[in-house]
Amino acid sequence: MRKLLFISMLVLSSLAAFAQGGQTVLSGTVIDAADGYPLIGVSVVVSGTKTGVVTDIDGKFELKAPQEKCEIVFSYVGYDDVVKLYTTKNASSFSRIVMSANAEQLADVVVTGVYERKKESFTGASATFKSDQLKAVGSSNVLQSLKTLDPSFKMMESSQFGSNPNVMPDIEIRGKTSVAGLKEEYGTDPNQPLFILDGFETTLETIMNLNMNRVASVTILKDAASTAIYGSKASNGVVVIETKAPARGRLQLSYKGDFGLSLADLTDYNLMNSREKLEFETLAGVYKDNGNDPFAQLRLDNLRNERLKEIERGVDTYWLSEPIRPGFTHKHNIYAEGGEDKIRYGIGLSVGNVGGVMKDSDRKTIEGNVDLIYRTGKFQFSNKLSINWLDVTNPTVSFAEYAHANPYYRKYNAAGGVDKYLYYPEEGVDDYPVANPLWNAHLNNWDTATGFGFTNNFIFEWFVTKDLRFRAKFGLTKQDDDEQTRLSPQHTQFDDMGETEKGLYTHTQIKELVYEGDVAVTFGKLIAKKHMLNAVGGFNFSNNHRQIYGYSATGFTDDQFDAPSFANGYPVGDSPDYNESLKRAASFYINGGYAYAERYLIDFNYRLDGASMFGTGNRFRNTWSVGTGWNVHKEPFMQDSDFFSLLKLRGSVGNPGNQNFSAYQAFSTYKFNGWMTNVFGTGVILNALGNADLAWQETTNYDLGVDMTFWGDRVNMTLDYYWKHTDPLLAVITTPGSMGVTSVAMNAGSQKTRGWEAALRVSPVYRPSEGIIWNISINATSAKSVYANIGNSFAALNESGKSSLVGTTRYYDGGSPTAIWAVRSAGIDPATGKELFIKKDGTYSFTYDVNDEVVVGDTQPKVEGLIGTSLYYKGLSVGCYLRYRYGGQVFNSSLFQKVENIGTQDVYNNQDKRALYDRWSENNRDAYFKGISLVQRTEKSSRFVMDDNSLVGESFNVGYEFPDRIARKMRIGAMNVQLTMADIFRATSVRVERGIDYPFARTVTMSLGITF
């Protein structure tokens, strides 16, 4: 609100330049209809003239009125204009002018975190979502909602970690700009966008923990024109989040609560039942002695008979139900706010617990925040303090172990207890014991983490003149995390170890201190009513210091007593961990914008960045961008028609960079040869080879877009076409051993991406005055990337990908980062049961040759997006959003590993039903899969690549805003309830196990908001 006010001051100040003498003076105060507080900077203009003033800091104005009747127009950004007739006699009626906010208009400002611009005069590609929009589609966190609202914002689904609330997702805006594999190397995801919270850089985890009810708006900045102000941090896009500022008025208390229920989605599991599993094992030859030893054969026969007997007794254990539970989530937020014009305050407390669908999977958060705004004369001080506490527990036995357990074993023994082993081979039998997952789960193991931290952001603003503002910001964040895990000495992992080596306790402490400062001057002026000038210049610095301490202890003797003091000692050869990274950055930036008659727009950004991660040879880097726009609907030739209320063409180009890289990659570092000293004392040796000439990763980004609103605001459309060229890429490249290191961070090659985005919203029924709106929205996105100039740099990655059983990604010039590489398969030969491969030259062969690999699919869908509809009827709202994905492929690892490629060890794990039914045999010659065999290795071929088209019920919601009269009866200010369902169904063309270590969840949440 404050910011809007300021902008309008800038825009309209020039209008106040005129005054005429000897006339009646109209004077009065302009106040806000919502809270009765004065509005500063409202323009008061005599209609049809240039005569006008703006209201002062107390909302007061004095306007020398004309001699004759006229209309006086009060206008203010974000508010509906008030037009009042001056009859020359009603001067006194101008003493109190009430203006009310226009909810639609509020959305029309782009908040970049550094400056704000009217959407209409902004040349960048961005999308802004308000708190109610975010809340309408989901209630878990801001990012979950964002992914439903904007298709370019992607949260990558993790097949490994499913819906584990404690695993942070990988996030991308408009696709990847960096080579995969770096995350493993560096711990930070180089494709992650930049997150800005209330003007300060923050972490993904902070955003994930942030209670949604505190959020006022989220803006996604996508192209160069909008992100370049963040320079070398911006190539992955920027997410700008603003929390709510306290509102003026008497003390107001509000409560927001969310109550959710999550259930595991196990429909993707297609496991065998006990009879099927035994049959599969029999066919696979588990009960056949290869040495034809009659005694061994007898034992195997007995074993099989015993299992069969159990099956006959009705044993068909469903293990998957064991580790899961209904996950209950509850979150509460209480916020008290109030104050008058000079001082405003807000105090909030958020408490929440996200219960995952696996037992012992919880994420508890408590967050307190204090917001203060003090304004006096030309100065404003605002401070936001938030304190957070986090408590996390994770299950200690992964879901996969339950999925592996065979259905012909009983969970419990006859006495009702849990046995350590489901099967333990007799003495002298060369066989694997089978552990009972319930055994490890019932022990006193734990995996927990706690965190405590605070963030204090202070902003000082000086409104030097109407057109000029000075701003200084300083933010400080301190975060301490503490992770502890414990494995009981009775854990099967320690079976073969000595008594003093059993049990394991690990403790890791992470301490982080971040500070960031920023000084900026903002200027905005409308000259001669036609030339709108905007400028921002500033300086920014940041310091990020992170320390990690850790140690392990072993030698516990008891399951129950688990304090680290009961440990016998440290693991042999283990030393304490200590890791530190210090990253610093300093930047100078400038942004300028010029608009002619609101029609022709031009914007430029320049930023000079310096960062400690880059070597002395390449410490500073320039980022620039230029954006232009044309508001066609403002052209005189369009004025006659009011069909278009917005028609804007825009284009931008710029070169934002990426510095999500490790702190010391540019430096060579050394370590002591700790293992030995000699008569000469200690020695040191190279630890990591730095590359001082490492160049920053840079993405040249082009964007062309059009924004349209027409048919009386009923149709709203945005189209964007973009292409990005990341050059050079920064990658950790495997090198020949003779270089003295096996890998080195290097600049290698480039990546080109082309894509488009479209968003369409149509309102077939649009009667906002009656509170009836029906919206249909469709959005879509598509992108394609290729590598260029990488030559042979990734040969080692390609080789290891070829030789390993997993990994279908290859790095070749012209290849796509998301392409699936494998040898083409012509299927299983019905006569022999062997797989027939298609060689590169198109000929057929039974021999697999890894060099015949070609692109057989792409995991990137041709088009992906959301279809949604929402209906508002008075206080009632209903929404439904479906995610669709079309034209992509997937390498079906379930088929590859759980149907074929079941080795001598894997056969003891439960497998996919298709491993039994769809296999080739003399009686089933048309089968899709090879015959059952334990020793046959299946190679990666196109047979396992399948079309991955899907339709997911991402969000369904029903909400109701109680009418005032009911709320009043209940003696509360306002009340609303909402029911949200997330990921409620999933229709897909491919059946593949998802949620390997942690299942996916379907969630229903009831939300309640009350203002007292």
């Binding site: 001057v521 300093a586 702190a663 060579s668 000699n678 008569v679 190279l686 051993g737 003295g740």
Partner: protein
């Protein structure tokens, strides 16, 4: 307003100029190169670090001294029972391509080149540093680092390169003379040889004022507790060690004149008392605690703080039923330490009396077992090059006719308690190498150099014939793939 702009402009300019210093972050949990190499002691520590790393199991702490390369050199009886001998039987039959040995060779290769990189980083920084060094230290450090670089390349060439005498123009290994983030390509063996010789020659010039030439090896710490840097010269690549390496490499590259002149220079230093022959009393006078490695004759040794691991891990008869490395009994009794005039082998040989101890029916190798005086520096020494080899090189390079070198061999033998040979043949010279350098990782290179069968046994058919399949190790896959 204008003022404000001026202030801001000024402030940001000041900020930017002081930025560079502020952005120059030094890691605390690791030593940055700038910090480490800002003092003389940093260079000394880095150099010492390289010497220490040579003791790694992948290099001279096992693989290139007593284990891998010595098995390839036919020194040990290797059984075929996998449960006892693990992967060693593959190596003894020169199956370099198994996963295990590919990985092991890869490790050795990577480790050697990582130390070469350390040498190069040291040399490059030394070249441009403005650190003031004490006395002649800068030259000594530079000389030793160059020699280390040459020595490591030389051993990689001897392992992975072609049989030099047969095919010196074949592509061998890359020679790294400076730190680079782009790989160097393979060079021919003769080109590598030239680089090795150049580096060693330069090192020898830099080490011209090495105190070893005047004060000897100085195998005790200075009594005043000052820096040991210029002491224990036999634990560093001193002037004579570099000269000895030149002799060894010249012989390998077929430059007989150079080999003769360098080896005799070192022999002279031995005669001058810098590397005296081992005192008989230390060997046979104290049979309970002999100086088994003949420490005074060692021109350059590594100092391994747990050298005992070599004995305990490979040679100790108490390892049974696990594998134990020892010589074939027939080889020992009828050739190496038996056989009389036709082989030069004799049971009175000191090298037999102190290093081979009987347990049961076999004799076991005790060269690396500790002396009783446990704190003695001798207990840490892994000999890298010794005086005895210089006599053998001199004998071989004296003339085209190997028999002409018999005097040098006899000089050595007279200090080993065995009588003179009447004539020297290549076979006897090889036996002498086995007697003198057993367990020091040189035998494989000798057979490769001479291109003769590897002597595992007295039965000729069991000794693999010379071929590149035996002598030329495949380059690690990381080298050929990238």
């Amino acid at each position: 307003m204008r003022k404000l702009f001026t202030y801001i402009a000024l402030a940001s300019m000041m900020a930017l100029t002081s930025c560079d210093a502020w952005l120059n972050v030094k890691p605390y949990d690791k030593m940055s190169q700038d910090e480490l190499l800002s003092t003389e002691s940093g260079y000394i520590k880095l150099l010492n670090g390289i010497y220490i790393e040579l003791n790694s199991d992948m290099l001279y702490g096992a693989a290139l001294s007593v284990e891998m390369v010595e098995i390839m050199g036919g020194a040990y009886v290797i059984g075929t029972d996998n449960s006892v001998w693990g992967n060693y039987s593959d190596l003894a039959s020169y199956k370099y391509g198994t996963d295990y040995w590919r990985a092991r060779l890869n490790e050795t290769w990577n480790k050697a080149y990582s130390l070469i990189l350390n040498c190069n980083l040291l040399l490059e920084n030394l070249e441009k540093t403005d650190v003031a060094f004490t006395g002649d230290n800068a030259r000594i450090i530079r000389g030793e680092a160059l020699a280390l670089r040459a020595m490591l390349h030389f051993d990689m060439l001897r392992l992975f390169g072609p049989v030099y005498s047969q095919n010196s123009d074949a592509l061998a290994i890359p020679y790294y003379k400076k730190y680079s983030v782009t790989p160097n390509s393979l060079m021919t063996a003769s080109a590598v040889a030239a680089e090795i010789t150049r580096d060693l020659n330069e090192a020898r010039i830099l080490l011209a004022n090495d105190p070893v030439r005047t004060s000897g090896t100085m195998t005790s710490a200075p009594s005043d507790g000052s820096s040991t840097f210029m002491y224990y010269r036999n634990l560093r690549l001193n002037y004579f060690a570099v000269t000895a390496l030149l002799a060894r490499s010249a012989l390998y590259f077929g430059d007989m004149d150079a080999a003769y002149s360098y080896s005799t220079e070192v022999i002279q230093a031995g005669t001058d008392g810098i590397f005296p022959f081992v005192d008989k009393s230390l060997v046979i006078g104290s049979p309970d605690d002999p100086d088994r490695i003949f420490s005074s004759e060692v021109i350059f040794a590594l100092s391994h703080s747990q050298r005992n691991k070599l004995f305990k891990g490979y040679y100790d008869p108490s390892r049974i039923p696990n594998y134990v490395f020892r010589m074939d009994n027939d080889m020992m009794s009828s050739i190496v330490f038996g056989g009389g005039a036709s082989t030069g082998g004799h049971q009175d040989d000191y090298r037999y009396r102190v290093n081979w101890v009987a347990t049961g029916a076999n004799r076991y190798f005790y060269k690396y077992s500790d002396m009783v005086d446990s704190g003695n520096i001798r207990n840490t020494m892994i000999p890298m090059i010794r005086l005895g080899e210089m006599y053998l090189i001199a004998a071989e390079s004296r003339s085209k006719d190997i028999a002409a070198g018999v005097a040098y061999v006899n000089q050595l033998r007279s200090n080993r308690g065995v009588g003179n040979l009447t004539a020297l043949t290549r076979d006897i010279l090889q036996y002498e190498y086995i007697r003198e350098l057993y367990g020091e990782g040189q035998l494989f290179y000798m057979y490769k150099r001479m291109f003769t069968p590897v002597l595992f046994s007295t039965v000729a058919s069991r000794n693999p014939a010379p071929s590149s399949a035996v002598f030329v190790l495949p380059l690690p896959s990381s080298e050929t793939d990238n």
